[in-house]
């Protein structure tokens, strides 16, 4: 019974003489093709609805063509300029030509906004000058100087040079409180404008505390669920899942009702004499409020992976440990706990990554010291309309998460994580 035969040349062949490896390849290719066909719709959806928008959005962090595409004459001139010497009459002429065109195209507002991000106060300079640009005559330097002295200030031209680079590290620098200069150097921002690093640190801090609190609160619950008989544990599991069926907004506002100065909890404190009516605890609109409500909202994400891992730990391990003389604590710590680590890893990463980008809850209950980086991304998306900076901050956040993920993999091992 030898369907495969070895020839003199050492190649194993199938019954019909084709090399066995080729045959196997053909057979495997068909099954691979079928498998690929099955995942294609999902793959397309992920690429189209997730990866592509993320990449397009992140591209804005380093690519902003507003100035270059709307100021076609002055942009190449600025690229040649050394950012030190006096701007020449040619440069002024190119600028005026662009101002006229931008006014006509109704793009002057965008250009002005872009330059204003580099140097405050230039927005009105651009819009005002553009309105008059059509009537200006050479020499343009003097003509513009008549409109505003700022046109002969080299800082204005430096700001334009920075803005004229479509591919720019300026936004990423700004996201970490740095300033990108016209000569290509970086420096730290003035102290009273350094806000982002502080927020990144605070975001990390809040996320870590929420993860640890979630673990401390969720671990005993998950343990209880995993040891109870199926009927009882299913009922309790529904209670754990109940918050999932409630809107995030409802849960957050419920916490406002509980925690506010005149809220349920403070009323109880007053009744039991733990606080006086005048001097109630500040439990909300600060970091405490953010921590309490985020811990509650994210708790199910900690409990579920823990539960599913604990469910697979047979009770015989702890029994074995006890039969060998271990006390309850030793049996737990040396035998049960190490085996629940995959659940801790999964729950911890899940909660941490969700927490790091949390935004509605801190916005509602965070006050000043309980807001997070995502609230500022939102601010730049919706209020200041500085989408490039928002994208840059998002990119920094992404890098931080990936770095932590890498650290986790090095220390704990990503294989050592399971959701059940």
């Amino acid at each position: 019974m030898t369907d495969a035969t070895t020839n003199d040349d050492g190649i194993v062949r199938a019954a019909d003489g084709t090399p066995l490896k080729k045959r196997l390849g053909q057979a495997l290719f068909r099954s691979r093709l079928r498998a690929f066909g099955l995942v294609t719709p999902l793959l397309l959806m992920i690429v189209m609805a997730f990866l592509l928008p993320v990449v397009i959005f992140l591209k804005q962090a380093i690519y902003n063509p507003t100035f270059e595409s709307n100021m076609a004459n002055v942009s190449p001139v600025l690229a040649q300029w050394d950012a030190v010497s006096e701007p020449t009459e040619d440069m002024y002429a190119a600028l005026v030509a662009d101002l006229v065109q931008a006014r006509k195209d109704k793009t002057i507002g965008k250009v002005a906004t872009r330059v204003n991000r580099e140097l405050s106060g230039t927005r009105s300079l651009f819009t005002k000058s553009a309105r008059k640009a059509k009537k200006l005559e050479a020499p343009y330097k003097e003509a513009l100087e008549d409109i505003s002295k700022k046109w002969v200030d080299i800082e204005t031209w430096k700001a334009m040079k920075i803005a004229s680079k479509s591919w720019t590290p300026a936004y990423l620098a700004s996201a970490v409180d740095m300033k990108y200069n016209a000569d290509g150097s970086f420096e730290r921002k003035a102290e009273e404008r350094r806000i982002h690093l502080k927020l990144f640190v605070r975001t990390m801090e809040i996320s870590i505390i929420v993860t640890v609190m979630g673990l401390l609160l969720g671990y005993p619950v998950a343990y209880l669920l995993s040891t109870l008989p199926a009927r009882t544990s299913n009922l309790l599991l529904i209670l754990v899942l109940l918050p999932f069926w409630t809107s995030l907004l409802v849960r957050t506002t419920a916490w406002i009702a509980v925690l506010q100065g005149q809220g349920v909890l403070n009323d109880l404190f007053v009744v039991f004499g733990l606080a006086t009516d005048e001097d109630r605890f500040s439990l909300i609109y600060n970091k405490t409020g953010t921590l309490i409500s985020m811990t509650h909202i994210l708790l199910p994400f900690m409990i579920l992976p823990l539960y599913s891992v604990m469910k697979t730990i047979p009770p015989s391990y702890v029994r074995a440990a006890k039969s060998m003389g271990a006390t309850n604590w030793t049996a737990f710590w040396r035998v049960y706990f190490p085996q629940s680590i995959p659940g801790i890893g999964a729950g911890g990463i899940l909660v941490f990554i969700l927490a790091i980008s949390f935004y509605i809850t801190p916005a509602l209950v965070g006050g000043e010291d309980g807001t997070m980086i995502s609230n500022f991304i939102d601010f730049h998306m919706r209020r200041s309309l500085n989408w490039s900076l928002a994208a840059a901050m998002g990119a920094v956040l992404l890098v931080i998460v990936l770095f932590l993920y890498y650290l986790y993999d090095r220390i704990v091992g990503i294989d050592n994580m399971k959701l059940g």
């Binding site: 391990y317 440990a321 039969s323 003389g325 035998v335 085996q339």
Partner: protein, 363 residues
């Protein structure tokens, strides 16, 4: 304190009852005394209460009523980790995050034993089960049989006088299981420990035990040595559960001394050894082992005609299914000895057995 069951016993169950829900007793008035150095097996179908008894002894379940004594001391209120009982679990319960050596070292560490002493004991225990080279491996890297040995070594490493085993060989294939049975038996003999062993496999129970307690319905049906259990079952359940058995049902017509005259359901009358059949008029089950039936021979008072329904060749013997007294599943084992009777399907032949081999038990 009631010590009427057996004051000499190393392990004593004294009127022990257990109920989980307050309505049904899973263990009903258990009295059992196990001597020091004895190998006792609790045998029974699942749900018979045998495992519950083991868990009560280990301390993972509490008795609803009655006392359990270990070395003369009641242990009802002693937590499991202070009982000093070694235990081997059904799926070995080797800690997957520790190496084999760490697993064995664990009970010694919790006893605050010094490092060198621990190492010596671990090595000795591993050598005992011929696993001396495996201390650095993880349990997941071992085969089922090797894991079994490690679990055994771990239960023995801290010199427990009593070792409990809860179906320890259930997950092994037949050949390995039989091999391990001998190893456990030899370890028991050489170490002089007391073993309480739980299984549902009757051949395992017969092979290994000094005594076997057959459990059913929360009650010990019979407690005796393996040969007694097989040859002298006290009731129909034990007869049926241990080994192969032919049943004939009937009514007791008369009892004289140890002989009962029984009218079978098909009208025929036969004699049997009165063991547990009650008085005249009671229904009874006659129990005859397949290998105690003689084929051929002349018609006597005890003989009966049977028709061969099916023949199965099994090498050392031939299994013959016959119709006897209306029981179409009556099995007869014909030894494949030189010059044995050759039967054909459909053939009718005379069968006979001695009165002592036909036991009249409860119905």
């Amino acid at each position: 304190m009631a010590r009427d069951s057996n004051p000499e016993g190393f392990v004593v169950f004294d009127h022990v009852q257990k109920s989980y829900d307050g309505e049904i007793l899973v263990v009903k008035d258990l009295n059992l005394s196990i001597a020091k150095g004895e190998f006792l097996t609790m045998l029974g179908p699942s749900g018979s209460g045998k495992s519950t008894c083991l868990m009560m002894l280990a301390g993972f379940e509490t008795a609803t009523h009655g006392n359990i004594l270990l070395g003369g001391t009641p242990i009802n209120n002693i937590p499991p980790h202070k009982r000093g009982i070694g235990m081997v679990f059904q799926n070995y319960a080797l800690f997957p995050h520790m190496t084999v050596g760490e697993n064995l070292s664990f009970p010694l560490e919790v006893r605050k034993m010094g490092k060198s002493e621990r190492e010596a004991k671990v090595k000795r225990a591993l050598d005992m089960v011929q696993m001396g080279d495996f201390a650095g491996r993880r349990p997941a890297q071992l085969s089922g049989g090797q894991q079994q040995r490690i679990a055994l070594a771990r239960a023995l490493v801290f010199d427990a006088e009593l070792v409990l085993m809860d179906e320890p060989l259930g997950a092994l294939d037949k050949q390995l299981r039989e091999h391990m049975q001998y190893e456990i038996k030899h370890l028991h003999e050489s170490l002089g420990i007391t073993v309480v062993y739980v299984t549902h496999d009757q051949s395992e129970a017969l092979t290994m035990s000094d005594r076997v307690a057959v459990f059913d319905d929360g009650i010990i049906q019979q407690l005796s040595t393996p040969d007694d259990l097989y040859e002298r079952p006290q009731n129909a359940f034990v007869a049926q559960f241990i080994g192969e058995n032919n049943k004939l049902l009937g009514v007791v017509k008369s009892v004289k001394g140890d002989t009962a005259t029984v009218q079978l359901d098909n009208g025929a009358t036969t004699e049997a050894l009165a063991v547990n059949c009650g008085d005249v008029g009671n229904r009874t089950t006659l129990s005859i082992r397949p290998e105690r039936v003689n084929i051929g021979g002349r018609k006597t008072k005890m003989s009966v005609e049977g028709e061969v329904k099916e023949l199965i060749y099994l090498g050392d013997h031939i299994r013959c299914r016959m119709d006897v007294h209306g029981n179409e599943d009556f099995i007869v084992k014909v030894p494949n000895s030189a010059g044995h009777t050759h039967l054909k399907e459909g053939e009718k032949t005379m069968l006979s057995w001695s009165k002592e081999d036909c036991r009249a038990l409860d119905a």
